[in-house]
């Protein structure tokens, strides 16, 4: 009698130790996102998108509950790394996800690689090198957003197809800017176009007048990458100084025509082209359902970050399901991402062997619709992988990295110089 009492008391204490029961604990996902500071809206969008997907599957997969632990990286790389350490060592998460800032992703990269923790880039972090062979490549990374160069390559393809041969560029003076405009220069030069002028206004420029009036006359179009409020300030002056009537504008990554800006810009934004891997106006059942749910929760239209977060959550759930919830088996779990395919608000999605998403790129144009100003899709490139429209071997054969081309993008011979 007494022995059975003791056994009854001891048994539950021993159970959690055995591995089959450890599996029954929740799948813990640590989300590292900027929730304060300049990039807080991007972080919040990613978070909302992630939640929408996990809620839709009841926060459960492979017989295990999904638990999200959210940490604010404040846009500071060392804080991001501290948070990653906390999530992995203290909260024992099996997966890290999120990441809007490239600097934060780079700071956590070495740590995640060393600890062999899967890192799902479901936020904006777009450094090309993270998913390409090289010193920064991390086999534990899966990216469900985009890399810096593909929306730029899509912009080049569209511009050339529409008869643009000579363009002027306007790029914010920082790392992400060179990675983006370098991608454009390479793709555009290869098609046979030329950049005749590069300008790099500093990030916090207030008066774009001098840059706008300095645009070389006779170009076929102006190509920009001006994130944040820079785009807003630029386009107002571009319009007021009468340049918009003269030159068509291509906004890589849709930074100027970011949906929340459109009502403020009004007619000044009409006719601006932009390239991105998402548009809220995409007419598919997946996207219409997503936009409706997003509007209900956040009271605004989703940006690409929301759709990326949704795709990240979906990919994690699919991979976890494929390994019957055993996400602790890291190698098998990561391998399960590679064959994953699904329809998302962004369109059809699959993965390449490096863990980078293959998706569609959209060229959008601002038009006045029944619902107000909106980015309407005018062209779509399907199955765009991270090397598109080139092959991996071809992209690797070029001598200069994008950041090294700043100041010499007008020289196509240098841009396309081989190793």
């Amino acid at each position: 009698m007494r022995a059975s009492w003791i056994a009854a008391g001891v048994l539950p204490l021993m159970l959690p130790i055995t591995s089959s029961f450890a599996q029954q604990g929740p799948i813990k996902i640590g989300l590292i996102l900027p929730l304060s500071g300049t990039f807080a809206p991007n972080g919040e969008d990613t978070l909302t998108g992630t939640r929408i997907y996990f809620d839709s599957i009841g926060n459960q997969v492979g017989g295990r509950k999904i638990e999200l632990i959210i940490e604010d990286e404040q846009g500071r790389p060392d804080v991001g790394l501290t948070k990653a350490r906390k999530l992995v060592e203290n909260d024992k998460v099996q997966i890290l996800a999120g990441f809007v800032s490239t600097a934060v992703a780079l700071a956590v990269n070495d740590y995640a690689r060393e600890k062999k923790i899967p890192m799902v880039l479901s936020g904006d972090a777009g450094a090309n090198e993270l998913t390409m062979p090289g010193p920064l490549y991390n086999p534990y990374i899966v990216r469900t957003s985009q890399n810096g160069r593909t929306p730029a390559a899509a912009a080049a393809a569209f511009a050339y197809k529409n008869g643009w041969r000579k363009v002027a560029t306007m790029t914010s003076d920082y790392a992400g800017g060179f990675d983006t405009i370098g991608g454009f220069a390479q793709a555009f030069c290869k098609l046979g176009g030329t950049i005749v002028q590069e300008q790099y206004p500093p990030i916090n420029t207030n008066d774009y007048g001098p840059y706008v009036t300095n645009v070389q006359s006779g170009v076929d179009g102006v190509v920009t990458f001006l994130p944040g409020s820079a785009g807003l300030k630029f386009v107002k002056q571009f319009d007021e100084l009468g340049m918009k009537a003269k030159y068509p504008l291509m906004d890589i990554f849709g930074q100027i025509v970011y949906e929340p800006f459109l009502p403020q810009l009004g007619d000044a934004a009409l006719g601006i082209y932009s390239t991105l891997h998402y548009a809220p106006t995409i007419k598919t059942p997946e996207n219409e359902a997503f936009v409706a749910e997003y509007m209900k929760r956040a009271k605004r239209i989703p940006s690409d970050n929301g759709a990326d977060g949704w795709a990240g959550a979906h990919a994690i759930a699919d991979a976890a399901k494929a390994v019957d919830g055993k996400v602790e088996d890291t190698e098998k779990f990561l391998a399960a991402f590679r064959p994953d395919k699904f329809a998302s608000p962004k369109g059809n999605i699959s993965f390449d062997k490096y863990g980078q998403l293959i998706q569609s790129m959209y060229v959008r144009k601002v038009e006045k619709t029944a619902d107000g100003y909106a980015n309407v899709v005018v062209e779509k490139f399907d199955n765009v992988d991270q090397f598109w429209p080139m092959t991996e071997a071809e992209l690797e054969s070029y001598k200069y990295r994008y950041s090294e081309l700043k100041g010499s993008m007008t020289n196509c011979a240098k841009v396309l110089e081989k190793k």
Binding site: D72, P77, K86, E89, N90, A103, L106, N109, L136, E404
Partner: protein, 307 residues
């Protein structure tokens, strides 16, 4: 005296036993606290003991970190060259800043140190081929003998403890007393025959050296560097650590560093509105503990003991 020795012995036991008792995350967090404690103490030497307010202290912290990262990652040099080079750069920059900034006092000194630090930040941000621009420089390796968290913790603990001893000795030395005299009244010290400028210059360089040491440890701790290391926000952060802990008490800023890092770590995991919570705590501290946490402790507990 006996009480101080007991306190030191107790602290030594706690810090040495720590990595064997607490989970690895807290070992890492304590390492970070020790590094920022050193950084805050170095600033206290300037603000608290010499009376020179600086808003550019992160420049020394950051330049040492950048020197080490660039030499190790870009130029593949050994840590035996990179580490001393980092400290040397911090000292050299301290001398340059002192030469330029010591003409001014008070809020003008704040502005000049802020401006000089922004120049250094601008270089780190703009010189992309060397510094990696705003992406920073990842890929730094720790020296082989401190590659794991525990041994690195002991390295940091040893260096911070040794630095603290040096700083205490410095403050109690005739030189340190002269600095405090200058803080109270420059003209009187001048009249007594002290070379005020030279004292301030040396204090500035020493403070820069210890800030550089903290930066060197921090870059090995994180294994990357980004412009954020020497941004004005970092300078302000360490200034707050000094003020919250207690200006001119040396131990106070170290406690301030621990308090702020722990608070930020705990609150920011609980709520998205952690900045608001931290702000309220700062305001409350300045209102109810104008002489910092250590001042509060002394007023409340020490006063009672002296009947």
């Amino acid at each position: 005296m006996a009480r101080i020795l007991l306190f030191i012995a107790l602290a030594a036991v706690v810090f040495v036993a720590l990595p064997f008792v607490v989970p690895s995350y807290y070992v890492g967090l304590t390492t970070k606290i020790l590094i920022f404690a050193l950084f805050a103490m170095s600033l206290d030497l300037l603000i608290g003991y010499t009376g020179l307010a600086s808003l550019g202290h992160a420049a020394f912290f950051g330049i040492s970190a950048y020197t080490i990262a660039v030499l190790s990652v870009k130029l593949r040099m050994s840590e035996w060259i990179a580490f001393p080079a980092g400290l040397t750069m911090a000292i050299a920059l301290g001398a340059v800043f002192a030469l330029l900034a010591l003409r001014a006092r008070g809020s003008y000194l704040l502005m000049i140190t802020l401006a000089l630090a922004q120049v250094v930040w601008g270089i780190a941000f703009g010189w992309r081929t060397m510094t990696g621009g705003d992406d920073g420089l990842p890929g730094l390796r720790r020296p082989a003998f401190v590659s794991d968290e525990t041994s690195f913790y002991f390295l940091v603990l040893g260096l911070v403890a040794a630095s603290t001893v040096v700083l205490v000795a410095l403050i109690r030395s005739p030189f340190g007393l002269a600095l405090q005299g200058i803080r109270e009244s420059e003209s009187r010290m001048q009249a007594l025959g002290f070379n005020v400028w030279r004292h301030q210059f040396v204090a500035f360089v020493i403070a820069a050296a210890f800030a550089g040491l903290a930066g060197a440890l921090y870059v090995y701790y994180n294994r990357f560097v980004s412009p954020d290391f020497l941004h004005v926000v970092r300078s302000a952060e360490v200034l707050i650590m000094v003020i919250i802990g207690g200006v001119g008490t040396l131990l106070g800023p170290a406690i301030g560093a621990a308090a702020i890092i722990l608070l930020e770590d705990i609150i920011s995991s609980q709520t998205q509105h952690w900045l608001l919570a931290l702000g309220i705590i700062y305001v409350a501290t300045t209102l109810f503990a104008p002489r910092g946490l250590i001042g509060l402790y002394r007023e409340r507990f020490m006063a009672r003991r002296k009947p």
